[in-house]
Symmetry: C2
Subunit: 346 residues, 2 copies
DNA sequence: ACAGTTAAGGCGAACGTTCGCGCGAACGTT
DNA sequence: AACGTTCGCGCGAACGTTCGCCTTAACTGT
């Protein structure tokens, strides 16, 4: 299937030079209405579509944005991937851009080399990054090369590059305050390892809310692990083994999967999740509402984030000015269900 | 960030013509070892990377493959999306290809126009399609234009285009046979609407297995709906309201979400899922193993499929011959858990 | 009637490759 | 010594655009 209709064919058909056709198509120069009409007719008649490749060779821009993400482990689903991607695709398409997605390599040099190749071959104009940990090597690489990107997530210095992040700290503060309002005083946390930026930022909200309520956090209340069901399960068994006066009556988990594990452990110990021990998750996984009891969780406005990221990135690419403010924090929304209120109807 | 190093720069550095550099880089022509060495040195020294855009303008191939998929509804997660994408990315990258992902539009003309644009602008060399329903308009469009593609899924005529599909019928036969071997004789099905190709193909296995066992299927055992939790829940309530002699003792669901709904309904009716009424799902969602009881489900070999699809597509693009056989069916694997065996340990 | 302005559109060049032809030198053959 | 072959490499062209400069003709004002 070789490409057929080119500028020259259209030009011949409209009896003008092909450069003039180019000008008309790009609304660039003064051309008489009559000629314009003739050219547009020819375009329609021949079904002309400009060659993307030739355009980007000439203009030195690919109108393509790269995105890569860390795949979720086999026993977990990335609950926001589909929505996040689709929202970016839509925003990009409406500006004539597309997303080039490429594999994630756990080995950092290999991953950086993929970024390098996409840049050096001119395949992409910019990247979208999902930042999960401190010292993301891709961030450093792109900053060093001064190559445009926006990030979902942020590092410590909020002014280094355009980003949007969910205010996980705020989310946990909201969750903890919700539990406090239900009368809980001993609230434990199923946290992520200390090297997780996202995890730590969320935990700050936990500490802040309890501090504000004048509650001293026992170090045993903080259990850390890599966010799996098993971690949630085992950690909760430990929590429930504490003495009656220190044993938590509520548990906030950094993701839904640990919360699910926690509820299973609660049940195994003979307690009723949602009634005897309250549990909250994070992400509002689609299945959260179908658990028994349904899980109270924090929902991220994923579509809005994807669209916003894309719009800011493209606006930067087209105008050359970085968006203001450079970083943006959006609040997650607490979806309250029976795992905290205990109104179990199922 | 304008591109820097071009063939000409490398050529100047190695004191040859730039066309010779091209030949050496593409391993095309006879050039003396010494000159080759000089050229490679220059390439390395200057950090030359060929321009993707110029290459594809010249060669008329974009080394890019398009993919679009129907997003899952907000209350569901696509359990295989991440794995499927990553496996395709990897396979593509290792052949120098990348995937261009673009949004799904529910309005067919708009969606077709996106395909048309990607083809006519020369942005992609081929597509991957996920076929869900009969008479997929994209399939027809691409066949009509004679534009290359491979599909995950198939239509009625298995020889129309290269595809791989999970043998859902076989999957259901395996699931039903598993239930038969546990002694069940009255097995109901939570099916999809009649216009779902995937759903019907799965149901064929259900019918075949029961027929082979000499069991007559009561029409009331077949409940249809769009695959949501609620459909699973409500349909199961109806199934359990049947008379004691016809009421099913086992239920096969076309996806995990309906199975989850079914288990909730079973519990609400005072039965124990896995012990009194067996349930199977389809997809082996990551959460399946964490349900109580853990859900027996059919797992699709997603990574293998993604990789295989990509390899066949690229091999076609490079050699021009369609792979043989043109269609391939892979078997899903039954993952047996307590929702059928009743060995509830949680 | 003549210089000055403007509108309409042609023209050459460039973006960075790949491809095929062709040319000179070295080589071996008669 | 004159003549094909082969090797190593240069050269022109083309892929389909966009861009800026240049030409031409018509139109202004005095």
């Amino acid at each position: 299937m070789p490409r057929r209709v080119t500028l020259k064919k259209v030009a011949a058909h409209a009896s003008v030079s092909y450069q003039t056709v180019s000008k008309v198509i790009n609304h660039k120069a003064h051309v008489s209405d009559e000629t314009q009409q003739r050219i547009w007719d020819a375009v329609r008649e021949l079904g002309y579509t400009p060659s993307y490749t030739a355009r980007s060779l000439r203009s030195q821009r690919s109108k393509t944005i790269g995105y890569s993400w860390e795949p979720s482990p086999p026993d977990q689903t990335n609950p926001i991937l589909d929505e996040f991607l689709q929202s970016m695709f839509r925003a990009a398409e409406s500006c004539g851009y597309y997303l080039l997605c490429f594999p994630y390599h756990a080995e950092i040099p290999k991953q950086l080399d993929t970024y390098r190749e996409l840049i050096d071959t001119g395949r992409v104009d910019a990247f979208v990054l999902s930042i999960i940990n401190y010292n993301d090597p891709c961030v450093n690489y792109l900053l060093e090369r001064n190559f445009p990107f926006v990030a979902f997530g942020r590092l410590d210095d909020p002014y280094m590059f355009p980003n949007i992040d969910v205010d996980g700290g705020l989310g946990l503060r909201i969750a903890v305050e919700h539990l406090l309002s239900l009368g809980h005083r001993r609230i434990a946390a199923l946290a992520w390892p200390l090297n997780s930026r996202v995890g730590n930022s969320r935990m700050e909200g936990y500490f802040a809310a309890l501090r504000a309520a004048g509650i001293e956090v026992l170090s045993d209340w903080i259990q850390r692990g890599e966010g799996s069901y098993d971690v949630g399960f085992q950690s909760t068994l430990q929590l429930l083994a504490m003495s009656e006066t220190t044993r938590p009556t509520a548990i906030v988990a950094m993701n839904d999967l640990m919360a699910i594990g926690a509820m299973a452990a609660i049940r195994q110990k003979g307690f009723r999740p949602g009634k005897d021990v309250a549990v909250t998750g994070f992400d509002d996984t689609p299945t959260a509402r179908y658990l028994s009891p349904p899980l109270t969780s924090l929902r991220q406005p994923v579509s809005e984030i994807g669209q916003n990221l894309m719009e800011r990135l493209i606006s930067y690419l087209e105008t050359g000015v970085y968006p203001d403010p450079i970083g943006e924090l959006v609040a997650p929304q607490l979806v309250i269900r029976a795992s905290t209120t205990g109104n179990d109807t199922g």
